[in-house]
């Protein structure tokens, strides 16, 4: 079966892999919206969505009731509703761009997924082969380049809506994204300074970052969050701003801008913005996990290879070292970490109130940016000292 797959035309292989990833990302983004509602409800002492159920599913003894209480069917009901309800297009909008904006929102969200590795397996020689749609060497640069295109959809949506609240929202979005893009990029430079030691081939690949966090020894196995906590903090804060999450959801700010850039949108077009936001969050959390949380390594100082070897010594089962099992295991570990980061996003959302717009700008330009530059200089000197010793 594997031979058949690997003998296919690379284009078809890529198509199949791409479809598989989209089929995972799309429901995952939907599930995140449900998780958001559930987490917010639990934090406020509410049960959250728990009523909708497919009629015949209610007869399944335990599982049906459990899924109902978990609100899983609300997710399907919401999806179906968005698909079938009327699509209002206000009369005063620029129709072409109005329709184009949500589609444009999805594109960068899904394109960035292609360069994010989400797992690894070991070939015969014990080399880790990352599972990634396009294992390009520019890696993180591609993520930054494409994901910041996402703001164009917000600008387009706000402008095409031809009304003042969406316009204000989109202006805020563009200002905010530009402000935080800088500190975000600067905060990860130390990571790549560290892994691109003198004499090694230069790379921006995310898989390489994980490889460096799976090296043996105390310093080798350290996740970069311990090595560079300030970088991680700046990256995380910028990530909140880049994905327009609370406390930085300036573009939406429903209390002062009605709905921000998507005020005029409804039905499926609105839900596309929604899914795009969650996809950005998923990709952002994935990048954070790869850079600072050790990617698919189960624990700090416990790389995947050692973990698999330990599992193998435990039961001695042969399937444990099979590439397929290792691949699935690494994907599960990686997704688990990503979901923990997503939970952190939600946790912060229901804890910290929204900043005022001037506070966002002040934090971005006067606090985070100098901090990121100072951090970069400090680590550049420290790494130069360590690596040339």
């Amino acid at each position: 079966m594997f031979d058949f797959f690997f003998n296919l035309n690379p284009v078809i292989q890529g198509l199949i892999k791409g479809l598989a990833v989209i089929l995972v990302i799309f429901p995952l983004a939907g599930a995140c919206s449900l998780a958001e509602r559930k987490v917010s409800a639990w934090m406020q002492g509410r049960p959250g969505p728990n009523r909708a159920i497919v009629p015949w599913f209610a007869y399944v003894p335990f599982l049906g009731r459990f899924l109902q209480r978990l609100g899983v069917f609300h997710l399907m009901a919401d999806g179906a509703k968005f698909l079938f309800k009327e699509e209002p297009v206000p009369g005063h909008v620029n129709k072409l761009y109005f329709v184009l904006a949500p589609a444009l929102a999805m594109m960068p969200a899904f394109t960035t997924v292609t360069v994010v590795p989400f797992g690894a397996y070991f070939d015969g020689a014990g080399h880790a082969i990352p599972l990634v749609l396009a294992n390009v060497d520019v890696g993180l640069l591609a993520v930054f380049a494409v994901s910041s295109l996402g703001v164009y959809s917000l600008i387009l949506a706000g402008w095409a809506s031809n009304s003042k609240y969406p316009f204000l929202g989109s202006v805020r979005a563009s200002a905010q994204l530009i402000s935080y893009e800088l500190s975000m990029t600067l905060s990860v430079v130390p990571v790549f300074l560290w892994i691109n030691a003198p004499g090694t081939p230069g790379t921006m690949s995310l898989a390489k970052v994980v490889e460096f966090q799976s090296l043996p020894g105390f310093w080798g196995g350290t996740w970069f969050i311990f090595l560079m906590p300030l970088s991680a903090a700046i990256f995380l804060i910028s990530l909140f701003a880049e994905t327009n999450r609370q406390p930085f959801d300036m573009p939406e700010s429903e209390s002062d801008l009605v709905g921000g850039f998507h005020t005029e949108y409804g039905a499926f077009k609105w839900s596309l913005f929604f899914v795009a936001e969650y996809s950005h969050m998923l990709v952002g959390s994935g990048v954070f996990t790869l850079l600072f949380l050790g990617g698919w390594n189960p624990l700090p100082w416990l790389p995947l290879a050692d973990f698999v070897a330990w599992l193998h010594s435990l039961g001695g089962a042969a399937f444990v070292v099979h590439p397929l099992f290792v691949g699935v295991l690494s994907i599960a570990l990686f997704l688990g970490k990503v979901l923990v980061v997503i939970f952190f996003f939600m946790w912060v959302r229901w804890t910290v109130p929204r900043f005022r717009y001037d506070q966002v700008m002040k934090l971005g330009w006067q606090k985070l940016l100098p901090l990121a530059i100072a951090n970069l200089i400090f680590y550049a000197l420290a790494i130069a000292w360590v690596q040339t010793r």
């Binding site: 987490v39 639990w42 934090m43 509410r46 049960p47 912060v348 804890t351």
Partner: protein
């Protein structure tokens, strides 16, 4: 009023980053996450009604099954939104409770007008009308929202009556003592 000058200390570096405050906030919300859910899931779970609750006004009967209302119309007159409409009627002379003389022929409370103030209950000299525990009234038409006499007695049921005033009056009259 003395003016007390408060000394405001400048924020420390840790406080200026807001991070300690945010972390303690995160701790609070996480503790909330683990707490039991406080929402009452309404149609399945009903709230406990405290005594003295003013629900839907109802008419009650005494333990002997006599309708207590004597259609004096005080409630009709006191009702601020004019929700009550009473048509007084006679009690036939051969009835066992003929000494009461009057009973409502029709008794309507328009629940679309009722403001649940409880004045009817307060003013009633016969303790015949009570605002009881029912708190949810719904109907598909305006007509459905008008409670007629039968419905009012059905909702009210029988309440204990420590006085049994009309029985005492009858007994007194039979002993030749009308007052």
């Amino acid at each position: 009023m003395a003016i007390i000058p408060l000394e405001r200390k400048p924020l420390s570096l840790a406080e200026r980053t807001y991070l300690p405050a945010i972390l303690s906030g995160l701790k609070t919300t996480f503790a909330r996450l683990l707490r039991p859910i406080e929402t009452m899931e309404y149609p399945e779970q009903r709230p406990a009604i405290p005594p003295g609750y003013r629900g839907v006004p109802t008419l009650v009967k005494d333990p002997n099954g006599r309708e207590k209302c004597v259609s004096c119309q005080l409630c009709e007159f006191v009702c601020p939104p004019k929700a009550i409409r009473i048509t007084p009627g006679e009690i036939p002379a051969d009835a066992p409770t003929a000494q009461v003389e009057k009973a409502p022929q029709a008794f309507e409370i328009d629940m679309l007008r009722c403001i649940y103030c409880g004045l009817c209950q307060e003013v009633c000299p016969e303790e015949a009308i009570f605002l009881q525990n029912q708190y949810s009234m719904s109907g598909y038409t305006r007509a459905e929202m008008v409670n007629h006499k039968d419905r009012l007695y059905e909702l009210g049921g029988t309440l204990p009556d420590p006085h049994l005033k009309w029985d005492k009056k009858k007994a007194a009259a039979e002993h030749g003592n009308t007052h």
